[in-house]
């Protein structure tokens, strides 16, 4: 579904990604793990078009993403839940969701899709007239994921969904990822929370200083000594 080959990208003169190759198949959940500053967020931004790659190929279902304007990538079925949620704080929950369904194809289905999101997050229905910025971190995360689902994506990009949340909520977020997967959505997820993310994804890539260091099935990585030592502290 999504294929990156030898992708390079960065900010100005600073290069953050070096020859990153990665694949996500339909219906899969794929994790990208790695230390701070490894380039995980950059990777997500390259896929959703916020940053353009300087080299390499980036293909989503046969369409060259590098040649697609950023705002058209959503129309191809890619929805990105950015790091630290980035809701529109002075807009209501429902207006935030409306922005998620901004693309022309999603507009006629707004009501239906809103129901889908409210079914998934009953909490959001209660809060639909509340300003997004006034909600708790966990609720904001729900709203951010809901906003991404409004465009009926095929591929969901989740950037650090558990960051800054209380442990109980972290559990909930990963459970949610499981439910989203079950609905048939393909998920690419970036996480610091290595142990938990490896329990919900099928495969994972370990990114280190902008390069793919290791790749493999989640279970294998969980069992691998180097990962255990470096990231799990056991």
């Amino acid at each position: 579904m999504l294929e990156l080959k030898a992708v390079r990208a960065g900010y100005g003169t600073f290069q953050a990604l070096f020859d990153v190759s990665l694949e996500v198949h339909r219906g899969e959940a794929v994790g990208v793990i790695g230390p701070n500053g490894a380039g995980k967020t950059t990777l997500m931004r390259v896929v959703s078009g916020l940053i353009r790659p300087t080299d390499g190929t980036l293909v989503m279902e046969g369409v060259d993403l590098a040649a697609t304007p950023a705002h058209r990538i959503v129309e191809l079925g890619v929805a990105h839940v950015p790091e630290s949620r980035r809701l529109f704080p002075r807009m209501t929950v429902e207006d935030n969701l409306r922005m998620g369904g901004f693309v022309p194809a999603a507009r006629p289905k707004f009501r239906r899709q809103l129901e889908v999101v409210y079914e998934l997050f009953p909490r959001m229905r209660e809060r639909r007239h509340q300003l997004a910025g006034s909600m708790s971190g966990g609720e904001q995360q729900m709203c951010a994921i809901g906003r991404a689902l409004m465009s009926e994506p095929k591929l969901l990009l989740l950037d650090e969904p558990s960051a800054g949340l209380a442990p109980v909520l972290v559990e909930q977020v990963f459970e949610l990822v499981n439910r989203i997967r079950a609905s048939g959505l393909t998920v690419l997820i970036v996480e610091q929370n290595v142990q938990q993310v490896l329990r919900v994804v099928d495969r994972a890539y370990l990114l280190k200083t902008g390069r793919i260091h290791t790749a493999g099935r989640a279970a294998e990585l969980l069992a691998s000594d180097s990962i255990r030592e470096a990231y799990l502290g056991v």
Binding site: S48, I73, E75, P82, R90, V103
Partner: protein
């Protein structure tokens, strides 16, 4: 009621009516600032051109006033688009202050272009609307009309912002511009729409102001500073704040102008502004630039 009180009441009413137009002015500027994060220093000069447009269409070419107004609104809207496309768009990545100064250059350009093209004589529509007499007070129809039209325009803008996808995008972009592509929003398009809308509001303001004031190349200097003060006091990009501030300033100008010249009204407004900065700085700075 003594004669003094009637004058005062008349000034208060006129201030209220002026407030409507000032609120319209600050709305256009706020919209552009909120969405594009750029201050059009030359905003009042767009209005000046619109006033000339009205003068030529109505007085010189005898177009019906409604047609002249519509043409004027559209043309100044296009000017707003052009300003964005030619001056602001190439500078979007530059230091904010450079964007501000570039529009300062446009101010110079528009003022002198008007001087060169139209001369420095004061011109007016030659249209005198009747004056309404109520309980010994005089209120001109042109002011009532301006007030009404400004209010209707503001309601329309409000509906646009709250009821349409484009409006939602305009509000959203002011809160987080970087993630707009993730929503599928083409920011360049929203910028252009906003610039056109900001220009059209300036065009409408021109139509309303030309009913009451003569036009000359430097007329923008009369409205410009006061509009900026309103926007800063109401906190730039905050529509509600600008609305309230517009009425406060209009009252100061109108009531202050009752006792002394109109210029003193502006001076009082500025003094009030400085005092307000000491008293209620948080009202000024809802967010930092």
């Amino acid at each position: 009621m003594g004669i003094f009180d009637i004058f005062l009441l008349e000034a208060v009413i006129n201030g209220l009516l002026l407030g409507g137009v000032l609120a319209l002015l600050s709305l256009g500027l706020n919209l552009v600032f909120g969405v594009i994060d750029v201050v059009w220093i030359c905003y009042a000069e767009l209005i000046m051109l619109g006033m000339y447009g009205m003068y030529f269409l109505y007085t010189v070419y005898h177009a019906p006033i409604v047609v002249a107004g519509a043409v004027c609104i559209v043309c100044v809207g296009i000017l707003g688009l052009a300003l964005h496309a030619l001056v602001i768009a190439p500078l979007l990545g530059a230091a904010p202050i450079n964007q501000l100064l570039a529009t300062g250059g446009v101010l110079f350009f528009l003022q002198s272009a008007a001087t060169v093209l139209f001369g420095i004589e004061f011109k007016n529509l030659g249209l005198r609307l009747p004056v309404l007499k109520v309980a010994g007070m005089f209120v001109s129809y042109s002011r009532l009309l301006a007030f009404g039209a400004a209010l209707i325009a503001m309601v329309l803008v409000y509906l646009l912002l709250t009821r349409t996808y484009t409006g939602a995008a305009i509000r959203a972009i002011a809160q987080d511009r970087q993630i707009m592509p993730l929503m599928g929003v083409d920011t360049r398009r929203i910028y252009l729409i906003t610039s056109g809308l900001g220009g059209a509001l300036a065009g409408l303001a021109a139509c309303l102001l030309v009913l009451q004031y003569d036009v000359h190349p430097f007329v923008g200097l009369t409205f410009g500073p006061i509009t900026f003060l309103i926007c800063v006091l109401g906190s730039l990009g905050n529509f509600g704040g600008g609305f309230v501030a517009a009425f406060v300033f209009a009252e100061i100008i109108s009531v202050g102008g009752l006792y002394l010249d109109l210029e003193w009204g502006y001076v009082f407004a500025f003094a009030f502004f400085i005092v307000m900065m000491f008293v209620r700085p948080e009202g000024l700075m809802a967010r930092r630039s």
